[in-house]
Structure formats: C-alpha cells, structure tokens
Amino acid sequence: MSVATGSWGRRLAIGLPYLWLTLFFLLPFLIVLKISLSEPVLGQPPYLPLSSLADDSTLQIRLNLGNYALLAEDDLYLDAFINSLRVAAISTLICLLIGYPMAYVIATVRERWRHILLLMIILPFWTSFLIRVYAWIGILKPQGMLNNLLLTLGVIDQPLAILHTQLAVYIGIVYSYLPFMVLPLYANLARLDKTLLEAAADLGARPATAFMRITLPLSLPGIIAGSMLVFIPAVGEFVIPDLLGGPDSLMVGKLMWTEFFANKDWPLASALAIAMLVLLVVPFVAMQRLHQRFDEDAA
C-alpha cells in the first residue's frame, strides 16, 4: 500500500470533490427539474414556487406539466430536437471518417513523427474554441476567403451562400470536435497488439481483410468513446449554430438560450434542458459502461 491511505486523507480525497460535484453539479439538475414544473410569471425570479402555504396553513404543491406539454405540441421544439440529433449524428460520422485514418496513421508512423502529429491534434484544445469558430465566419461569408478563392480560380461565377446554412454548422462542428474523435481512437489503436496482424498476414490474409477482421473490431471501444465525446456535446451545441447557422438550422441548445435570454421563460428553458438530459442519458450510460470496462481491464 502507498501513501495517503490514512483515513483522514481518504476522507478528504473522496469527500471534498464528491461534495463539490454533488452541490454544484448534481443538485442543480434537481432544481432544473423543479423549475421545469413551475409556472412562468413576469417577475424576479420569473417563475412561481411549486409549494406555498395556503391561508389555512396547509402546504400546497402545484405541479405544472404545461411546459412539457408545450414541448410535445409545438412542432418548433420537436423539429429542433430532431434537427439537433441529425446534425450531431452526421457530424459524428464525418468526424469518424476523417478521424479514424488520422488516428490510424498517428498510431502507425515512426516514433518521432508520432509525437509531432499527436501534438498537432492536442494543440487545438489549447486555443480558444470561440475564436476557432469565429475564424470560419471570415472564410465562409459571401465576400469571404473561400468565395474569393473560388471566384479567382474561376470555379464559380457567383459567391456561394455557405455561412448561415446547415452546411456551415456541419463544418463548424466537425472542425471543433475532430480532436475529440482522434484522441480516444489513437489511444485505442496505439495499444493494438501488432502480433495479431502479423499472424493474420502469416495465415494469408490480405491487409484489407486483416483490417476489417482484426483492427476495426478491436478498435470498437475507441470508436464508441470518440463518437460519444463528439455526439453528446454536439446535440446541445450553442455557439456553432448561433454564429455559423441560419434560420434553417434550429438546434435545441440555441432554442434553450433564446427561451432563457430573449423570452425570459425560465420554466420552459428548464423543461428543454430536462428533455435534452433524458435524450442524452442513453449514450452517456453507454460511454460510462465502456469506461468502467476499460478501468477493470487496466486494473
């Protein structure tokens, strides 16, 4: 056994972060749930308390399911959810199609190159996400760099409208989340037992067959981990659809922001948050299961 096994150190190490996360991460969700069941009013704060003491001092609790009913009835919200899921899923797939070859090459090139290529994947994590999304505005807008380039080359004779379309949202999400796909895939592929591939080659398998039958199935945990790291945050993405998207690219993260900041409807924003959480629980639990299996394998 090693240091910090004293019961005092143990209590501190587990207790302090546990307490912090319970108070500032878990508890807030219960409050969101509570407020999603309250009625919006004009005032500060802009919702009615769920429980109140009536005149005869009995406790009254009123649950208002109206916010959820609205989510189900109004096509706007349903469309936003469907669009968010579709955009997140397609972006995840594109990230996988670009990220898998990148991770594969990083994992197989010589040591010196590997360090450089890996550093170049990690570096974007250190640069501002907001600024990297912003950079695309200058590229994609009608008089932007991409259109200027294509016009000069004579590929097009009319500027393309890319900014403020769904396409720009895809570009933004793939661009921002690609490193999140590459890193877990690389971590997985780097650990792959090379002797398996040699054995397959000895037995006469062609490289493509060996890849399909050995590398790809063994890298499935990496594929799932990377996909979840892209998919889950992409569903609730606000900055990218807001800065790059247009009226046709309604996403639930942006809708929630609008309900909260523009319409000051806190209960409806809360209901949207709860609906999003419920939607994301399944992929999240899948990811968590996978993590635990990794941990058990590593232990």
Binding site: T5, A13, W20, I31, V32, G138, L229, Q288
Partner: protein
C-alpha cells in the same frame, strides 16, 4: 485503402484543423477595415485593442477567474484522481466516477442554466451569493474544469512507480514527507498541464459564464461574442492572434520545463 489515399485524408484533416486559425493570424495584420480584402501590413488593430477599456476590463476579469479556477480545479482534481487510483473500492465509487465524467460531455447550456438556477435558489434561501459575477463564474468553472484536471492527473498517477513511495516509507519517511518529497515532484508535470488546461478552459467559456454572470461582469469570451455578433471586426482578429501567441508561448515554456523531469 491505398497508402496515398490514407495520407491524403490525414493531410486534409490537419489542413482543416490549422488553416482557419492561420488565416485569422494573417488577416490580423491587415490594414484594410474589410476583413477579407488585403490592404497591406499594419499593426493598427493591435493599437486599437490597447485603447479599448471595456475589452481590457473583460480580459482582466477573465484572467482573474481563470487563475482562481485553475488553482482550485487542480486541487480538487488531484484529490479526485487520488481517490479513484488509490482507493479501488469505496461506497459510492460508481456515482463518484459518474459525477467526474458527466461534466466532460454535458452540453454547456445545461450546466449554465442549472448552475444559475442553483445560485438563484441559494440566494433566496441563504442570501448567498448576493450578486453574480466573479464568484459565481468561478464556482461554475471549477465544477467542470476539475473533471478535466482529474483526467490529466489520473493518467499520470497510474504511471507512477509505487516502488518509489514504498522505498521512501521503508527508509522511515512519514506519509506526509513521502507525499511532498516523492509523489508531488513526480506529479508536477501533470499538475502543470492540468492547471494550464483548466486555465484555458475557463478563458474560453462563453456559454456557462453568460448564464451565471451578472450585470457589469463581462468576461473576455462574452466581449468577443458581442463584438462578433455586431459584425466581424479586425480588432477581434488581433485579439485572437494575441491569445494564440500567449497560448503558444505558455505551451512551449511548459514543454521546456518538463522535458528534463520526464524519465
């Protein structure tokens, strides 16, 4: 897939990651007010940044929050990483792991809204926090940054050679001495990485800060966002370049610092 095709995709991937930021840097030196028309080399947008008081205030607020956030995030992240690595079995371990993973993927809008509602409820019940600003943004940032810090530090702890600590204890060192003389120095590179990561995460957050900030407390990303909403401005290009340069210097320095220590 053929080898050339594979490398073409990889080259495309890297170009895709880097070209937008490079263009941003190049155009920050553009004399023309039109962001996409080259009008000659100029540093005038950098000069205008220095005279912009609202920007300087926002930057100062963000730097203070980022420093506080990084320090606490590393502290809690270290504790959490030790808890998960050293105590294999404890009650609530699954819940603990869940709470440490969820902030990594949770959409910002949900974290932001939920923390704001918490702060509003706490204010009603306890009278604290009285206003929203540095404290509330700091608490919000620590909450998600500590999860990232824990990931970085945990990876390093799992690589530590337990024999070093055992040897120190065999030689009569008390647990506290072992920790400060053996464990902590070995962890320093990871702690530094975690601190820098938490620092940049905080400096980068727009969504959560927008929810939990109050009137008068505008962070740097909030300032950038409102400038961008008003139109792409050359000042933002210059600011972005300065931030990139800052990050590049810090990353290079950190790499220099930790190269000799790495076994």
């Amino acid at each position: 897939m053929t080898r050339p095709a594979l490398f073409a995709i990889v080259a495309f991937g890297y170009a895709f990651l880097y070209i937008p930021v490079m263009l941003l840097v190049v155009y920050s030196f553009n004399a023309s007010k039109l962001v996409t028309v080259w009008g000659g080399f100029s540093l005038k947008w950098y000069g205008e940044l220095l005279g912009n008081e609202s920007l300087l205030n926002a930057a100062w607020l963000s730097l203070r929050i980022a420093t506080i956030n990084a320090t606490f995030a590393v502290l809690f992240g270290t504790l959490a990483a030790f808890a998960l690595n050293r105590y294999r079995r404890f009650r609530g371990r699954t819940g603990f792991e869940l709470l440490l993973t969820a902030p990594l993927v949770m959409p910002d809008v949900i974290i932001g809204l939920s923390l704001l509602l918490l702060f509003v409820s706490m204010q009603q019940l306890l009278g604290w926090p009285a206003g929203r600003g540095l404290t509330t943004i700091g608490i919000a940032h620590i909450t998600f940054s500590l999860a990232y810090a824990a990931v970085v530090i945990r990876a390093r702890i799992s690589q530590l050679d337990p024999q070093l600590e055992e040897a120190a204890m065999d030689l009569g060192a008390r647990p506290f001495t072992v920790f400060t003389r053996i464990t902590l120095p070995l962890l320093t590179p990871a702690l530094l990485s975690a601190w820098l990561l938490a620092f940049t995460l905080s400096l980068d957050d727009l969504v959560i800060a927008s929810f939990v900030s109050g009137p008068g407390s505008t962070t740097l990303p909030m300032w950038i966002y409102s400038s961008v909403r008003l139109g792409v401005t050359p000042e933002v290009n210059a600011l972005a370049t300065l931030m990139l340069a800052f990050v590049a210097i810090v990353v290079v320095l950190a790499a220099r610092l930790r190269t000799p220590g790495q076994a």
